[in-house]
């Protein structure tokens, strides 16, 4: 539920570092809190995001949630297939349900985010 190769935010996004790129999605805990996801809005390729900037919206049957970019970067890819099949956010949050790929302004910034152990502790404290 908390893959070791990812970094996490308090808004329950994850980022996977790959060279100067960061792949972003939402966590297992986030999809569980949302319930059945039925709608996803992602940004256009080419958009530049600041850290914490809203980059899209995810909606379950009952809830609306904004997506926040964990780090700064330019959107070089958005998962268009996922917009057509947003239920994959529930079934495969760390795999098929990646949302955007960013060309990172500063790859080192990823390391300042929570690691798996810290995020696990954060979720456990939040769900108390």
């Amino acid at each position: 539920m908390y893959p070791d190769d990812l970094r996490y935010t308090k808004d329950h996004e994850w980022v996977r570092l790959s060279g100067d790129r960061g792949i972003v999605g939402i966590t297992h805990y986030a999809q569980k809190q949302l319930g059945d996801v039925v709608y996803l809005e992602l940004p256009e390729v080419g958009r530049t995001l600041k850290a914490q900037e809203t980059f899209g919206t995810v909606e379950s049957v009952k809830a609306v949630s904004e997506l926040f970019s964990p780090v700064a970067g330019e959107v070089v890819e958005a998962n268009a297939a996922l917009m057509q099949a947003p239920e994959k956010i529930n079934s495969d949050p760390y795999g098929d349900a990646w949302m955007v790929a960013l060309k990172l302004a500063d790859p080192a910034a990823v390391k300042t985010l929570m690691d798996a152990a810290a995020y696990k502790a954060f979720v456990e404290s939040e769900s108390k």
Binding site: G35, D36, V38, Y39, E41, T57, E59, S60, V61, K62, V64
Partner: protein, 365 residues
């Protein structure tokens, strides 16, 4: 401090996601909203709706009193029959929407919305009941809703009562699984089904027996999330969302529960409701589906060109229909099927189209 139904422990045991709802700690979903919704459309679902209130009106003056405080014609009821109705105010808007059950001559039970129990009880008490007693009996009943095309066969396995003979909006008292209950062929899902009134002490045992009995037929526990999407597909109004103390019954599309015949006599709002039934109301609660990508939600504004013309009262992704639907108050000339307008989805104007309702109607009904 949230109120708990007698089934609270059972819900937690089965891993339900619990949320506060109208002051109650209620299950919003168990395995998942969409699977629960689909189970009710294709097999059966079991809901805990014990938060609903029950008020009795009893005495020789009960019928006359109820005729003067409700919108529908109570004299049409026979023993063992139920009627969808409301408690209207002078402006033609409801204090609440209710179901009136006639148990015997001079003995009525009214089922009211959870968040309106105190308000309704005070409203009724203040209307000067003569020859009858009004009592809040909400703590004497747990209420289970067994809904779906396989509801009858599942419930029949636990009772000798002939359920096939029980007509829509009728009820019968008798044992189910040995427990003394009242079974009513009513619901809030657009499917066939039953609502079962049971003493709180037996509620958990009955719940578990029903789940065990129905499992092989596809019965699942279903939460308030699926209850809301099911009722919306069937275009059933939710008090506090689709109608309230500012919307008349005719505007809400509930003119059919307003009786203005002579036998019914006078009641609050009769004049304005009679007029609106004849000439139409200036605005109407219209059903719509989204044309553009996006989901309309409660409270979003509706625009015609650049004019704000109304607001969305209920809006959701509809799991069975697999589209985004909603209800919205619109000026009457815009509230006809085919008319298009925009919904402001968090700053973005998304086109929507008025469609005929109900959005979903079960086969054979």
């Amino acid at each position: 401090m949230l109120l708990k139904t007698p089934l609270n422990a059972a819900h937690r045991e089965s891993g339900a996601k619990m949320v506060p709802f109208g002051g109650w700690d209620m299950p919003v979903e168990y395995a998942g909203l969409i699977s629960e919704h689909m189970a009710v459309r294709t097999a059966a679902g079991l809901f805990d709706v014990s938060h609903m209130g029950e008020v009795t009106v009893e005495g020789p003056g009960a019928l006359a009193f109820l005729q003067g405080v409700t919108s529908n014609d109570v004299s049409k009821l026979v023993d063992g029959q139920a009627q969808y109705s409301s408690l209207p105010m002078d402006n033609g808007a409801p204090v609440d929407d209710v179901v009136v059950f006639r148990r015997a001559e001079g003995r009525y039970l009214i089922v009211v919305n959870a968040s309106n129990i105190d308000k309704d009880f005070e409203w009724l008490s203040a209307r000067g009941p003569a020859g009858c007693e009004i009592a809040d009996r909400s703590e004497e009943f747990a209420l289970l809703a067994l809904q779906g095309p396989r509801a009858q066969e599942i419930l029949q396995g636990l009772t000798a009562l002939d359920l096939a003979a029980l007509e829509y909006y009728h009820f019968v008292e008798g044992p189910v699984g040995g427990w003394p209950v009242t079974i009513s062929r009513t619901g809030y899902t657009g499917e066939d089904g039953f609502e079962i009134f049971v003493p709180p002490a037996h509620a958990e045992a009955l719940w578990k027996r029903l789940i065990d009995t129905g499992r092989s037929a596809g019965l699942v526990p279903a939460g308030l999330g699926a209850r809301d999407t099911l009722r919306l597909e069937a275009r059933m109004c939710l008090y506090g969302n689709d109608m309230d103390e500012t919307t008349t019954l005719v505007e809400a599309g509930l003119g059919w529960i307003v009786s203005v015949n002579d036998a019914k006599g006078d009641f609050p709002g009769r004049a304005i409701l009679a007029e609106q039934k004849k000439a139409g109301a200036p605005r109407k609660l219209a059903g719509f589906e989204m044309i553009g990508r996006g989901i309309a939600r409660h409270g979003y504004a509706a625009y015609l060109h650049d004019d704000a013309v109304g607001h969305v009262t209920s809006g959701s992704y509809a799991p069975y229909l697999q589209k985004s639907i909603g209800l919205c108050y619109l000026p009457k000339e815009e509230a006809t099927p085919g008319a298009e307008f925009d919904v402001d989805v968090r700053g973005r104007r998304v086109p929507a189209r008025v469609v005929p309702t109900p959005f979903y109607k079960r086969a054979g009904k």
